[in-house]
Amino acid sequence: MRRDWWMCAAVMTLAVFGLLVQVRLAGSLPTTEGLLPFAAGIVCFIACAIACGDGRAGAFLEGKGKWVAFWLAAALMAALLVFGHRYRGGLYLPGRINPSELVKLCMAAFLAGWLGGKSSTVKGLALCGVLMLTVAAAGDFGMVAQLVLSVAAILWAASWAWGTLAVVGVAGGMLLAAANPAGHLATRFAVWKDPFADMTGSGWQTLQGLAAILSGGYAGSGFGLGEVQAVPIVASDFVYAALAEELGLSGCAAVLALWAFVLFRGIRTAVRRADKSPCEALLAAGIVSSLAVQAMLNVAGVLNVLPMTGITLPLISLGGSSLVTTLAMCGVLAGMSGPFADAR
């Protein structure tokens, strides 16, 4: 099996496109939140691809790897809860680093290693629950939603019964309710149900986003020609509205199709590795589900199909930690796709 170069190309296209979008939205090249994480992310992508190649990821996770992942995540969350400061409702480490992004990868790795090694599921889920509790304590609603859905996806991939999934769902729901920073959750649900109730207040961003999407139509106004700044904080959560206004439904379809291609190739990797290394298969499934959930929750939030969760559109939205982590996750996928010395 050769390395999945097509997937690598798609990821790079998305990352470069995301940087272009950020340059357009900022009006100049954003250094600390754009170029620097982009460079770091490319390095991480290559490093992860090499490190996880040739079955090394599975071997590592079956051994000490899962504990490394678990304690790394635990340490990051502990540091966040101790040293974190609030910014726009989220908790960040100094330098506005959001370590809970990395927790996504760590938890997928831990659970994949645990379940692939045929250890006790309940114990593994309990440990994941502890990690998610810390994320909930940090008040990161969107991240908890992502983690819960990604855990469910890994369980499903490990062919677990629907009953277990139901338990995870209930527990996840309770966690989501717990991760409610200062009543933001109620506001977001209220905006989702009726954005017109407070149209110049809490509903403003959503309505302006919808107006941008409508003004873009099918073809869009052209890259750089829209009035995208009418949407507040358009560069991060609402970047999809900017894409929709300037590139239209067709441009959005192209971006989502690229993402769908990356995810599809990730699933293909998971299926191909299922016999050789169940750990790697589950890790691929975890990464794919995490990225899919992130992209879908973000776009659905902007379209007001679901409440806004405050999570970003991977590789496109402004956000250094998210960019680096997403590229690292894609690097892991690329590494696990091949080539393998024992394949022939």
Binding site: F196, M199, T200, L207, Q208, L210, A211, A212, I213, L214, S215, G217, Y218, S221, G226, E227, A230, A244, E245, L249, C252, A253, L256, A257, W259, A260, A295, M296, V299, A300, L303, V305
Partner: protein
């Protein structure tokens, strides 16, 4: 992903049909290309179905018509306005500050409604508050006659003092001509024809606070009027500022329109129309479809008939001579309201023809000076335009 794209595509077709979202866009969206894709907004037609461009940007009507066109599902809104009369009114008031109202006395339908200059938050005709000056004498005369108060007063050149502490209320002639001897003993007819302040100040005091309060309630001067009632859209004309607890001496300046009482141009048009319509006041309306509804019955038939004749005399040989149109029995009353600073506000309120009134016109020109010189020509042009439009047939 496909589901999301489907949701995106669905929004592109459903968004412009969502009335609340359309309203949001019209009020708050800065993208010009959005409006182009929506049905032409604020489209309105007049009573004959001709397009009406009152929904010009910057007017109070803009939002109102947006709301109206939403209730009619994008079809043009049919208003009671007459496009040509409205256009003439807008042209006549261009460059001035003030308001113009033309309404049909028998139905309450507003045929022209101008607020100049165009402003998004204040419609002067509906919500501007002004001292009415002498046009209020029409109301006082009709209210007094309705209560069988019809006195004869001595009106000397030195005027009338309602109390020792207030300066005398005098007639304009006394200020212009020092040798003027005064009107002498005159009745209400002569007083209204020549707009005697001295007479009406005394009438106010004689009429008294109780009867005055009753007359204000009977005419519903303080009540707001919903001029789009029945259409599902709220557009309210303000109720007038009527001071409470007036004592008899304070009614002297109120009776000549210079007291604490402030009226909207629409309310002046409404009581003028009530005089024209034999004492019956109809709900003012901008909707062509809404059936006429009675609002109040402030004056008696006999009182309205007598005030009509007095207003006719004022146009034939009194202060309103500038509005005498051959072949049309115009009844009118001028007003010149002192503002305390700047030039006076000029008023003229009239209706025609006397026997079967078809149109009442009220004109206010802020700081226009004398009513006879600033407001009367505007009203005259409006009546001539209405005559050309065969509204008096």
């Amino acid at each position: 992903m496909a589901v999301l794209l489907a949701a995106h595509a669905r929004w592109l077709s459903a968004g412009p049909k969502d009335p609340r979202f359309v309203r949001f866009l019209r009020r708050y969206d800065r993208r010009s290309n959005v409006g182009d894709r929506l049905p032409p907004h604020g489209a309105a037609v007049d009573r004959r179905g001709s397009p009406l461009d009152v929904a010009l940007p910057g007017s109070v009507f803009q939002h109102v018509l947006d709301d109206l066109s939403i209730t009619t599902d994008g079809k043009p809104v049919s208003l009671s306005l007459d496009a040509r009369l409205q256009a003439r009114g807008e042209a006549l008031m261009a460059g001035k500050r003030g308001a113009l109202v033309a309404m049909e006395p028998a139905t309450g339908r507003i045929r022209a409604l101008v607020s100049a200059p165009r402003a998004a938050y204040l419609d002067r005709a509906l919500n501007g508050m002004y001292p009415p000056g002498s046009v209020f004498k029409v109301f006082m005369a009709a209210a007094a006659l309705s209560a069988d108060v019809d006195p004869v007063f001595n009106c000397p050149a030195e005027g009338y003092r309602s109390s020792r502490s207030t300066p005398p209320i005098r007639d304009v002639e006394a200020r212009r001509n020092r040798k003027w001897k005064g009107f002498g003993r005159i009745g209400m007819g002569e007083a209204l024809t020549h707009s005697s302040n001295t007479y009406f100040a005394q009438l106010g005091v004689l009429f008294g606070p109780e009867r005055f309060a009753d007359a204000v309630v009977a005419a519903r001067l303080a009540d707001p009027a919903k001029v789009l009632a029945g259409t599902g859209v709220a557009l309210e004309a303000a109720g007038c500022n009527v001071p409470d607890g007036l004592r008899a001496p304070e009614l002297a300046p109120v009776a000549i329109g210079q007291g604490a009482l402030q009226l909207t141009p629409l309310s002046v048009a409404m009581f003028t129309a009530a005089v024209a319509d034999d004492g019956i006041m109809l709900e003012p309306t901008l909707s062509q479809a809404a059936p006429p509804r009675m609002r109040a019955r402030p004056f008696t038939f006999a009182a309205a008939g007598r005030v009509k004749k007095m207003m006719r005399a004022a146009v034939r040989g009194g202060t309103g001579r500038g509005c005498d149109i051959p072949g049309l029995a115009v009844c009118g009353k001028t007003g010149t309201a002192e503002t305390g600073r700047g030039r006076d506000h000029a008023w003229f309120t009239c209706f025609a023809p006397m026997e079967a009134p078809r149109l009442a016109v009220t004109v206010l020109v802020e700081n226009g000076g004398f009513g006879a010189s600033a407001a009367v020509p505007v009203a005259r042009e409006m009546l001539l335009e209405a005559q050309r439009l065969e509204m008096f047939r």
